[in-house]
Structures are given as structure tokens and as C-alpha cells.
């Protein structure tokens, strides 16, 4: 199977018109395209950084608030400056982008502008035709981040072409210990959907960036592919602190594999762990062991399970295997009424486990939340 087409979509800075792009994203996904959606009010810098890190085929910009000639031109210009000439740019703006505007934009390097009344089918066809052919020869990467991005793509493409995963679930004891860079710490975040992992990670990144003026973090996040279709890789859209030159983020679709990971995850994670970051964060969705297989003696140094207080009854907790495996358990949204009970029930379970696991309550959405401070302290102080 050919590798899915990865594109990035966004709405420009000072523009909140996301109704069109939301509908377009859904159409793209229904036709097998993986969409990394950056959201609205996004600067040129954020868009170009994300596109190069995600190594997408093209950027689709939806602009209804004017200033489009300059904005699109700046995106193209920045891409070229970074040597990312093979990332293309297209877009639309209903009737706000005239034919004259579009001609000017094309002269500045934009591939195509869709005018008002263009059907969704036409747009989808366009993307599949123009950005679906395999890249023949790629220009040499101009920066370490770009090189890393290209390599990650090569790994994903390899698995898409039929390379088989040897084994994603590592046994607890391994003959050979995988080697991370000397000081790279790999932290795994897992937990049920909606628990607030993305927000929590973004808040931790904020603290890291503030306390380590030179430090760098990598994030590998996963989103499920819809069966037979593409995927909406939307974690970036809600992250504000992680859109930063010192944060390298890569979004991966699970591409048909069960358990919350992609076939390429293990190899990608191994590569990231060897690339000189202070921390590599891998984020997956799930509560069973298949969600975080790279544990102790593998690549992941520490695992964090993020729980939503609304998990149901104590009986439901029995089904959550990660409660027995995670090093740190976080009860997020602990401002909810249910959180007190959740904390107590989980605490009991952890005590039974007798594995020296930590339990922390957070309200990740809260600015300067002391729980998140505590979690950050715990992660950054832990021994390897």
C-alpha cells in the first residue's frame, strides 16, 4: 500500500474562520489523506516549522480575513529559505481571494488557489493527484531537524511499503539494551482519550523551556487512523507552548495497527532517542500494555498514565492494565467533583501494587497549576 499522503492545514494569524477548513479536513480524511491540522490564528513561523518537522507533502491554508497575498508569499519564502522546496503550498478563501490575487500568489510560488464554489471532491482529487506521487529525489536537508524529519518519513514509508514490524511488545527483560543518547530521557504518556494528555504535555513543555534556556524536547504523538481512511492528527492544534524552535514534534497515524501505535513507532522512537534531545515524549492513546510496550530496559525510561476522573466504577479500574505498569499516575481534571473519589480508588490500587508508583493530581488547563509543577519536578528529578 502506498504511504498515505500527509498534508498540513491551517488558518492564518489573526484569522479565526475555521468553518471551511473543518469541513475540508473531514473530506480529506475520508479519502485516505492524513491531515496535520494546526488550527486557526497561526503565524508563518508556526506553520513552516510544523510543515518541515512533519515533512508534509503540502500545506493547505484557508484564509478569509485578508492579507493573503503577503501571508502565502511569506510561507513560500520561509520554506525556500529552509531548503524545504519540496513542500508545496495551496489554499483558498471563498470569494475573498480573487483571480487576480491568485495569479499574483501563483507567481510567488503558490501551487493553486481554490475559488468560491469549488467542490470538496475537486479539492480532494487535486491533493491526491498532485501530492500523491512518490517523491523521486529529495533535496539535501539543510538542517539537523530537516534531516531528522526526512529520516522519519523514510521509516514510515518503509513500513507502508510492506516492511513488517518485528515485535512491538518487548519482553520485560531484553538481551540488548537499546541505547539512547547519553542524557536523553524518554517519557511515555498514555491514557484514555479525553484525559488531557496533550494539554498536560504542553504545560510540561512550557516549564521545561523556561527552566532550560538551551534545552530541546522531541514529541512523538499518535492519533488513530480511521479504518480504510486517513487520520486527523490534531494534537498540534491545541498546543501553544510546543510551537517553538526548541520543540521537535512529529504526529503519526496508527495506520491500521491496533493498540494506539503505528507500525513505525518503535523505529521512529529509537531514532529520536538518539538525536540529542534532553527529553523525548511519546504520547499514545490507550490503557493496556500494548499502548506502552517500550518500557524498562527498552527505550522508554519512565511512563506516565494520565487518567480522567470519570472512568466509571472501581470495577472499571480493574481493566486498566497500565495502572499496574506506569511509574507515575496522574489524575487530571482534578477540579471535577469526581476527582476526590478517583484519587482514593486509584491510590488504593497503587498501594496494593507495592511498586513505588507515584500519584499526582493535576488541573492541566489551569495556568501555573501546582499539580503540574509537582509532576514536572518529579519527571526532571528522576534517576535514569
Amino acid at each position: 500500500m502506498a504511504s498515505s499522503i500527509r498534508i498540513l492545514t491551517a488558518v492564518p494569524i489573526c484569522d479565526g474562520h475555521d468553518s471551511a477548513i473543518n469541513t475540508i479536513n473531514l473530506e480529506f480524511i475520508r479519502h485516505g489523506i492524513e491531515v496535520i491540522y494546526l488550527g486557526y490564528h497561526r503565524s508563518v513561523g508556526d506553520i513552516v516549522r510544523a510543515a518541515t518537522q512533519e515533512d508534509v507533502r503540502a500545506i493547505g491554508i484557508s484564509s478569509y480575513n485578508g492579507g493573503h497575498i503577503e501571508f502565502f508569499a511569506e510561507v513560500v519564502g520561509h520554506l525556500r529559505k529552509r531548503g524545504a522546496n519540496d513542500i508545496k503550498v495551496f489554499g483558498g478563501g471563498g470569494g475573498t481571494i480573487t483571480h487576480e490575487d491568485a495569479a499574483a500568489m501563483k507567481r510567488k510560488g503558490v501551487d493553486n488557489i481554490f475559488f468560491a464554489g469549488t467542490s470538496l471532491a475537486e479539492m480532494t482529487d487535486y491533493v491526491r493527484r498532485h501530492y500523491g506521487r512518490p517523491r523521486v529525489k529529495r533535496s539535501r536537508p539543510k538542517s539537523p531537524d530537516q534531516e531528522l524529519a526526512h529520516k522519519l518519513t523514510a521509516i514510515e514509508d518503509g513500513y507502508a511499503r510492506g516492511k513488517r514490524v518485528t515485535s512491538n511488545v518487548q519482553p520485560v527483560t531484553l538481551k540488548k539494551k537499546a541505547r539512547n543518547s547519553s542524557k536523553t530521557r524518554v517519557i511515555g504518556f498514555t491514557g484514555p482519550g479525553g484525559a488531557g494528555k496533550t494539554t498536560l504535555i504542553d504545560e510540561l513543555v512550557l516549564r521545561f523551556l523556561n527552566q532550560n534556556p538551551e534545552g530541546r524536547i522531541a514529541i512523538l504523538s499518535h492519533d488513530p487512523s480511521v479504518i480504510g481512511e486517513g487520520a486527523l492528527l490534531g494534537d498540534r492544534a491545541t498546543m501553544i507552548n510546543s510551537q517553538n524552535d526548541r520543540v521537535f514534534m512529529r504526529s503519526m497515524a496508527t495506520r491500521g495497527q491496533a493498540g494506539g501505535l503505528s507500525p513505525a513507532t518503535h523505529d521512529c522512537l529509537t531514532l529520536l532517542a538518539r538525536s540529542g534531545f534532553d527529553y523525548v515524549i511519546i504520547e499514545t492513546v490507550g490503557t493496556g500494555q500494548e499502548a506502552m510496550p517500550f518500557q524498562k530496559n527498552g527505550i522508554v525510561n519512565q511512563t506516565v498514565l494520565v487518567m480522567n476522573p470519570d472512568y466509571g466504577s472501581r470495577l472499571q479500574l480493574q481493566k486498566i492494565v497500565m495502572l499496574d505498569l506506569a511509574d507515575i499516575v496522574v489524575v487530571n481534571k482534578s477540579d471535577l467533583q469526581r476527582a476526590r473519589t478517583a484519587h482514593t480508588e486509584i491510590e488504593q490500587r497503587l498501594e496494593q501494587n507495592r511498586r513505588n508508583q507515584q500519584l499526582i493530581d493535576t488541573v492541566a488547563k489551569r495556568h501555573r497549576d501546582p499539580g503540574v509543577d509537582q509532576l514536572f519536578g518529579l519527571i526532571s528529578r528522576s534517576e535514569l
Partner: protein, 604 residues
């Protein structure tokens, strides 16, 4: 149960009360006679006037009923215009031209001379046209153009992208956006330029400002600008509205800049100040327009707007502001599209609001009023064969006036392409005048179109659907919980997607686009020059902002530090915002506040 659940109950109870009154009118003779007497009395007092062609018409039309039960039903379920529950209108008389007495005609057909009578005081025209472009002085010019023939000067201000997001014109990467889609406002000096030549304290002037995320800061700048020109005594005379509605930003328009709770706190700070010091100002315009424009169904628009409104009422009451102080200062904003629900949407909303406010919040009569501004739908405007938009807007205005909106904006036909140009904005303004002044539909008789069986059928259906939505939101834990759960947002997105599918598969006909499409005509774009801000002007704005910042550097730093302390302490920030607005730019203030309370985390 949150207050919203109580509102649902109160509507049910009120409807039951109406039925009880109907029964009572039929069984209690004395009551029945009282009602009949009151009804006949009301009818007898209705003045008549003549149409231009000589036909006598009553100023208020009432159903032809004389049975006490039916009278009870009408009076209690609907109310006369200006009477609880306000289904037929917030005020007794709206849109009517001054009384022209019945003239007796001489035998030869000439009107007999009559003694002169003093004209009745005339209500303000509803027209309030939304505009904003390029720099403050350019928008000021447009304002004067738009109001040159108006008796009362009613302005409505559109701001550019950077201003809407609380960002200065000199911020990284926004140069191309300066003055696009609205006016660029960075400082109090811009604000002074923007309203130059208008008498801000006059009872004939009012300014509406369409901005929500940074609204408290812009409000402070407006007050500072007014004080600069007219001295501190003008503050209590200021008339106008600032949109400021955070809930709908998070649900639809996406212009929130602080985290939700901080945003709501700053809003309440502003409301506390203005309801006390500026009795003629509306510090919030609780909006459904953006919800509708983001693709919601009409019922969703009304339901989310009303529930947001009740949530605000709960919030302001919790701050200790008396309901009869803030109630009369709440205003509402809905859009009007071509779907049939719009025949009754605003009327029904007005009624639900009145009952909820009276019976759950114990509001007095003035605080029960749902004061409404309606804008014709922007989403309904089509680029292909764009001149059809004139017809669309005219139909939408009809629907708006049938609902007795207090204030209206009509879109220009060229808006799919650009902020409207003079030619098309003139036609948009004329559309309102043609319907209200030239045509006889609304200027002779109140209740002109109310009560038709069709309208009543839509009313019933819409009301039931809105209450269902209330129940769902209540089930989710109330408005704030539902918002954080992305409930309204995801409903809106689903509805938008369905709407686009319907256009795509033709089940929703759009003339000129998916039906009766003419190849050549479809491609036509307006000839007139599109409103784009020249680079020179954008540079001018950046330059004068730099001068302002340099001039005020010392004072700005001190003001921002003081503001940060107040914000940290959780005190009311508004007085400090007023001080800061004198010497700081919009971006400086919003940036500093974001350092204290954080930035809004986008919801997608």
C-alpha cells in the same frame, strides 16, 4: 440543577399558567368579564391613521376575538407589543411613522384643513451599519458618509484581525493584516481619530464595537478617548454597545485571547463598572450571529445564545450585581438567514428570555427585555451571481422586521469578495429604508404579520426545539461545562458540515450556485475596486504606533506593573485598565495580562 434547568421548568410552568388562565376565563364569570372589558378598552383606544392612498388602518392590529378564553390566551401567551411576555415586540410602538390623523375629506376630495398637532416623539431608526476599514481616519470618513442622512448617528465598528486578537500592528508577521477586514486600532489616539467629529455624549449618538476577546481593553480605550475630547463628565452619558461575549467566541468565532475563566472574570469586571458608571451603555451583546455563521442551525443559534445569556446572568448575579442593574444592560445579537425558522426565531427567543428572567432571576420589567440587533446572514451570501445577494438580504431584512428587531444591519452584496465598497453599502442601507420607510408593510400597523397560522406553527416548533437543547446542556452540567466539553462547538461543526453536504448534493438549492447556474454570470465579480489597505497606510500605522510607545515608555511600564499586581490579586481590573489605556497600546496591555493569567488554549 443549574439555573438553566430552572429556566426550562419556568417555561413549562408559564405555559401551564396560560392554560389555567384560559380555563379560568371560561369558568370564572367575573374574571371573564374583566378580560373582555380590558380587551374592548384596549381596542377602543387604538388610534387610526391613513395610508398615503387614503386607507384607514389601526396602529395596532389585534386578532378578531371576543371570547374571554381566547382573549386570555392571547394576552398571557403572547402579550401586546411592549407587554410581558413580549412575543410581539419589546416596545409598544416600533417602526411606525408619526401619527397622521384621520383627515376628513371635503366633497371635492381635498383634505380639510386641520389644526396643527405636535408630532409624537419618534423612535430611533433601527439602521446601524457595520463598517471598518484601513486606518482610523479612513473609517471615520466612512462613518460620516453612512450617517449623513440619519437623524440619529448609530455607528457600528469592525476591527482588523490584529486588533481582534489583541495584537499591535507592529507585531511580528501581521503587517499584511493591518486594516484588512476592519479598522486598525492600537492606541487611545487611534480611538480619538476614529470617532472624530461625532458628539459622543449626545443622546443622538451611539457606537457599537464588535470585539470580544480584548473587549475590556478596547472599552477602556473608548472611555479614555471620550474623556480626552469631552472631559470626565461625558462617561455617564456614553451610549453604545461592546460585544464582549466570550462564550460565543469559544463556541464559534475563535477570538478568545485569555483562558476562559480569566476572560469571564475580566468581562465581569467591566460589566460591574459600566452598569454602575455608564447607565446608557450595553457592556455585552450576547451573540448568536457568529454561531449561525459558523454553520449552526437556527434553533442551535437561539438555544446557545439564550443559554449563554442565562449563564452570564448567573455569573453577574454571583458577583453581586443586582439583576435590575445588569438586566437592562444586556443586549442580544442574532443573524437572519433564509431558513423558515427565522420567521419566528427572535420572537420566541424574546419570550423565553422574559419568562426566564422574571421567574428564575426575579428580574423587574426593564430587566426582562430582550433587546435585539439583527444582522442579515453573511454565510447566505454567494459569490456566484453575486447581485442575487441584494434579494437575499432584502428577504432576510423582512424576516428580521417581522420579528420586531430593535436594530438592524444589512450586508452588502459584494461581501463574499471584500469589506463592502461604497456603491454596495449604499444599496444595503437603502434596503432597510425601502422596507421601513418606502414600503407600507411596517410603518402603519403593529403586529402586521404576527399570528398567522404558519408563523404560530413555526413558533411552537422552534420553542420546543430550543427547550430540548436547554435540557441537553443542563444534562452536561450547564453552559460552562458544556463549553469545556466542546459540546456546542462540535454541534455547530456537524451542522456546518451537513449544510455544505446539502449544497453539494443539491438538496439545499442555492440559486446561481447549484441551481440555474449560468456559466458566464457565475464568474462575474464586482467591478469596483476591492477595499485593500495600501502598504503606505500600513506603514503609517506602524510608524505612529512606534512614536506613541516611545513617548509613553516610562508611564506605560509603571501602568503595566500596577495592572499586573491588580490582576494577580484577583481584584477588579477595570479601573486599572482605564489608567493603562491612556499610555499603553492594546498589545502591551493584553501581553502583560497574558503573562499573569495565561493564553487561551485553542479548541478545535
Amino acid at each position: 440543577m443549574s439555573k438553566l434547568g430552572q429556566v426550562v421548568e419556568s417555561i413549562g410552568n408559564y405555559n401551564k399558567f396560560v392554560l389555567d388562565q384560559v380555563k379560568r376565563a371560561r369558568t370564572d364569570e367575573k374574571f371573564g368579564r374583566e378580560l373582555l372589558g380590558r380587551w374592548n378598552d384596549t381596542k377602543a383606544k387604538i388610534p387610526f391613521s391613513r395610508t398615503p392612498t387614503g386607507l384607514p388602518l389601526p396602529r395596532l392590529a389585534l386578532p378578531e376575538i371576543d371570547e374571554p378564553g381566547e382573549i386570555a390566551r392571547y394576552l398571557f401567551a403572547e402579550g401586546l407589543p411592549g407587554e410581558f411576555p413580549f412575543l410581539n415586540g419589546a416596545y409598544r410602538e416600533m417602526y411606525l411613522e408619526p401619527v397622521r390623523e384621520i383627515e376628513s375629506f371635503e366633497k371635492n376630495g381635498e383634505p380639510a384643513p386641520r389644526p396643527a398637532r405636535p408630532p409624537l416623539p419618534q423612535a430611533e431608526e433601527p439602521t446601524r451599519l457595520f463598517s471598518g476599514l484601513m486606518l482610523a481616519e479612513d473609517t471615520n470618513e466612512r462613518f460620516h458618509y453612512l450617517t449623513q442622512h440619519q437623524r440619529t448617528h448609530r455607528l457600528s465598528t469592525a476591527f482588523d484581525g490584529p486588533t481582534l486578537y489583541g495584537i499591535d500592528s507592529d507585531a511580528d508577521g501581521v503587517f499584511g493584516k493591518i486594516g484588512e477586514g476592519g479598522v486598525a486600532i492600537d492606541t487611545v489616539e487611534d480611538m480619538v481619530r476614529l470617532y472624530d467629529g461625532f458628539d459622543l455624549g449626545s443622546p443622538n449618538f451611539s457606537a457599537s464595537m464588535t470585539i470580544s476577546g480584548p473587549a475590556p481593553i478596547i472599552m477602556a480605550m473608548y472611555i479614555a478617548a471620550a474623556k480626552r475630547r469631552f472631559g470626565p463628565k461625558v462617561v455617564s452619558k456614553l451610549r453604545g454597545t461592546i460585544q464582549a461575549d466570550i462564550f460565543k467566541e469559544v463556541q464559534a468565532q475563535n477570538e478568545t485571547i485569555f483562558p476562559i475563566e480569566a476572560s469571564l472574570r475580566f468581562l465581569t469586571d467591566m460589566v460591574e463598572f459600566t452598569t454602575r458608571e455608564m447607565p446608557r451603555w450595553y457592556p455585552i451583546s450576547i451573540s448568536g450571529y457568529h454561531i449561525g455563521e459558523a454553520g449552526s442551525t437556527p434553533v442551535q443559534q437561539a438555544a446557545y445564545t439564550l443559554s449563554n445569556g442565562f449563564a452570564y446572568a448567573e455569573m453577574f448575579a454571583a458577583r453581586g450585581i443586582p439583576v435590575d442593574q445588569f438586566g437592562p444592560r444586556l443586549s442580544f445579537f442574532l443573524d437572519c438567514g433564509l431558513d423558515v425558522e427565522y420567521i419566528a426565531l427572535s420572537r420566541v427567543s424574546r419570550r423565553i428570555w422574559a419568562i426566564g428572567m422574571r421567574d428564575v432571576f426575579e428580574a423587574g420589567p426593564r430587566a426582562q427585555l430582550f433587546k435585539l440587533h439583527t444582522q442579515t446572514s453573511g454565510r447566505s451570501l454567494i459569490a456566484a451571481e453575486f447581485k442575487n445577494n441584494l434579494t437575499r438580504t432584502a428577504a432576510e431584512l423582512m424576516l428580521a422586521y417581522m420579528n420586531a428587531t430593535n436594530s438592524s444591519h444589512s450586508n452588502s452584496a459584494d461581501e463574499p469578495f471584500t469589506t463592502p465598497s461604497e456603491e454596495w453599502i449604499r444599496l444595503a442601507a437603502h434596503g432597510q429604508a425601502i422596507l421601513l420607510e418606502e414600503s407600507g408593510i411596517f410603518k402603519h400597523t403593529m403586529n402586521m404579520l404576527s399570528g398567522s397560522p404558519g408563523m404560530k406553527a413555526v413558533e411552537r416548533s422552534v420553542e420546543a426545539a430550543i427547550l430540548d437543547e436547554f435540557r441537553e446542556i443542563e444534562r452536561l452540567g450547564g453552559v460552562l461545562a458544556a463549553v469545556e466539553d466542546r459540546y456546542q462547538r462540535s454541534q455547530i461543526q456537524n451542522a456546518a458540515h451537513r449544510y455544505e453536504q446539502q449544497i453539494y448534493n443539491g438538496t439545499r438549492p442555492i440559486i446561481g450556485l447549484n441551481r440555474y447556474r449560468d456559466g458566464a454570470e457565475a464568474e462575474e465579480i464586482p467591478e469596483v475596486k476591492l477595499a485593500r489597505t495600501p502598504r503606505k497606510k500600513q506603514q503609517l500605522q506602524v510608524d505612529r504606533l512606534a512614536k506613541f510607545k516611545k513617548k509613553n515608555a516610562e508611564k506605560a511600564k509603571r501602568a503595566l506593573d500596577k495592572l499586573a499586581i491588580v490582576a494577580e490579586r484577583g481584584e477588579n481590573c477595570f479601573p486599572m485598565l482605564l489608567e493603562a489605556a491612556e499610555v499603553c497600546s492594546l498589545g502591551q496591555i493584553s501581553g502583560r495580562l497574558q503573562e499573569v493569567v495565561g493564553r487561551f488554549r485553542p479548541m478545535v
